[in-house]
């Protein structure tokens, strides 16, 4: 990003461009990304196929035979100069989590590493209000910022080839809610019955970038009831206004 705050346009071949607002994980930068995403969507640019909003940049994919790149860049620069990023007014998702044991096999290790009891680690993890910066990697995986820095934990040296669907994990200063079984080098603190991605349910995806997420510890004895409800299409997650 240049020093005057205007975004950089990074070429990704002739059919995509990444519009980068910064190189840090920062709610204000992310809000600009989402605001530009909304502005481009509203502008209905001919030839624009889809966009991928991430922490600090917006990847725009287009048909180079329809969209004239220089004109598009000028248009996007214009839109970026007059953005109205909204940080508040988000949806907030309340996600039930069973921590520890078979649900979060790394909980005790991570707690020990920080000199905390497992109970205290749960309190710290579950007391933050997280912002979903992006959905990515695999269907519906929510990448969250806002974790208490004191429990930041570097990723595992060797990623696990499989971690369960619904895993609630931390890696570095980030937190994550997984949707599907996936490889991961993050630390598994717990598991939620919430399906952030469920093709047979409407809505297919629950969490969007810009939403807030809070975790609500629940007892392992509740898992089966919640999981069956979720499998039957219940969101299980409560939604409120942030």
């Amino acid at each position: 990003m240049s020093s005057n705050g205007t975004p950089s346009f990074l070429p990704c071949g002739d059919a995509a461009v990444t519009i980068e607002f910064g190189d840090t994980i920062d709610p204000e930068i992310n809000a600009k990304v989402l605001a530009l995403d909304a502005a481009l969507l509203a502008a209905a640019v001919p030839g624009l196929i889809e966009t991928v909003a991430t922490y600090r940049s917006l990847n725009v994919q287009y048909d180079p035979l329809v969209l004239d790149y220089p004109a598009f860049e000028a248009q996007a620069r214009g839109l970026a100069a007059s953005l109205n990023p909204a940080i508040g007014n988000a949806r907030r998702w309340h996600i039930p989590v069973v921590y520890g044991g078979e649900f979060g096999i790394d909980l005790d290790d991570v707690a020990a590493r920080h000199g905390l009891t497992s109970k205290r680690l749960i309190d710290v993890h579950a007391s933050a209000i997280y912002r979903c910066y992006m959905i990515g990697f695999m269907p519906g995986v929510a990448y969250l910022g806002g974790m208490d820095q004191s429990i930041a934990t570097p990723r595992r040296e060797t990623p696990r080839l499989k971690t369960p669907a619904g895993t609630v994990a931390i890696g570095g200063i980030q937190a994550l809610v997984a949707s599907v079984e996936m490889p991961s080098g993050w630390h598994l603190l717990g598991r939620t019955p919430v399906r952030t991605y469920m093709p047979s349910r409407e809505p297919v995806f629950l969490i969007s970038a810009g939403d807030e997420v809070v975790f609500e510890p629940v007892d392992a004895s509740q898992w089966e009831a919640l999981d069956s409800a979720a499998a039957a299409g219940d969101k299980v997650a409560r939604e409120s206004r942030a």
Partner: protein, 335 residues
């Protein structure tokens, strides 16, 4: 409704169309045919729109019995044999198969991905707007998976009319794969850039619809290292993890990634790239945006011309059908 019943097929046989567009923001890769040029040719011969759903074969073919029928099919892409109840049919020629007949696609003699299009298109229930298989998400295909023996693959409404058709594939491009630098070329040393643009790379056996892992001279990262804050990934992006060995990310790629991407293969070269088998060698050539767009226009014009020149299989030019063909291909390359 007519259907093809799978007798046997290779593990990499799946339904693919123009891709699942608009869902990368939720982590769903676009999928769709690896070689869009061959998909368009096969569909033109079968009388379909460019992005109609076809069967994509990876190296190994399969055998299918026609249920209901008749159906009109055509094969394009990797060089595989096509037989209808034992009769050999040339590539890029449509053929009608009747109820109870067997359609056999052989193992590819060259190339990697072959496309069997069928008049009316394959008519499974689309997921999120596409029939393309995305197995990690459990979307498209047959119940979210690849084809296997015993599957009954439904065929859309189709009226058999007119004679069989043939066409010639557009003259192939040869030479290096053309790339535009970026989005993170500033994460590499000048030696790293030289390695990419001057070195010879081989496609490793780790090549699939997600991406092609290459081996070659080490592409050296600069002082900023090899971790970026995850961002979006374009088709053809050349990602370089800590090993310095590049991976070209393709249709079933992850939607975001945290390794720097040194360059991106231009859209005009993605189809021919996808046909390179493991063991093939390739080099890269840096081009400008203007050159890349010009190459995309040239490829599109060649494709339109090839379809416009489609002829009756007995050698007579189509007349009104030819105009339909022209109209059919006026859509976008990736739309």
């Amino acid at each position: 409704m007519s259907a093809l019943v799978v007798q046997h097929c290779g593990a990499g046989t799946s339904l693919q169309d123009g891709g699942r567009l608009g869902w990368q923001r939720f982590g769903i890769s676009p999928s769709g045919a690896m070689d869009r040029v061959s998909l368009a040719l096969a569909n033109a011969l079968a009388g379909n729109a460019r992005h109609a759903c076809a069967l994509e074969f990876t190296l190994i073919g399969g055998a299918f019995v026609v249920d209901g029928g008749p159906v009109r099919v055509a094969l394009a892409g990797a060089d595989c044999s096509l037989r209808i109840s034992g009769r050999a049919i040339p590539l890029l020629t449509s053929v009608t198969a009747w109820a109870g007949e067997t359609i056999e696609v052989g193992t590819a003699r060259s190339g990697l991905f072959a496309y069997l299009a069928i008049g009316g298109g394959f008519d499974t229930e689309p997921d999120l707007g596409s029939r393309s298989l995305q197995s990690r998400a459990g979307l498209g295909g047959i119940d979210g998976r690849a084809l296997r023996a015993g599957d009954r693959v439904p065929v859309g409404a189709f009226m058999l009319s007119g004679s069989e058709r043939m066409l010639s594939a557009p003259p192939p491009e040869s030479g290096p794969m053309r790339v535009m630098l970026g989005p993170q070329d500033d994460y590499f040393t000048s030696g790293g850039l030289d390695a990419l643009l001057g070195g010879t790379f081989a496609i490793t056996p780790e090549a699939d619809r997600m991406g092609f892992r290459l081996s070659g001279p080490r592409i050296e990262h600069g002082p900023k290292g090899y971790n970026i804050i995850s961002d979006g990934i374009a088709t053809g992006a050349i990602q370089v993890p800590g090993s310095g060995q590049p991976i070209i990310l393709l249709a079933d790629r992850q939607t975001t990634g945290g390794y720097p991407k040194i360059a991106t293969v231009i859209s005009a070269d993605l189809a021919r790239l996808s046909q390179l088998r493991p063991g093939s060698q390739l080099t890269f050539l840096m081009v400008s945006r203007e050159q890349a767009v010009e190459a995309a226009r040239r490829l599109e014009a060649k494709l339109v011309a090839a379809i416009a020149a489609m002829a009756h299989a007995d050698g007579n030019l189509l007349s009104s059908e030819r105009l339909l063909g022209l109209n059919m291909v006026s859509g976008v390359v990736r739309g």
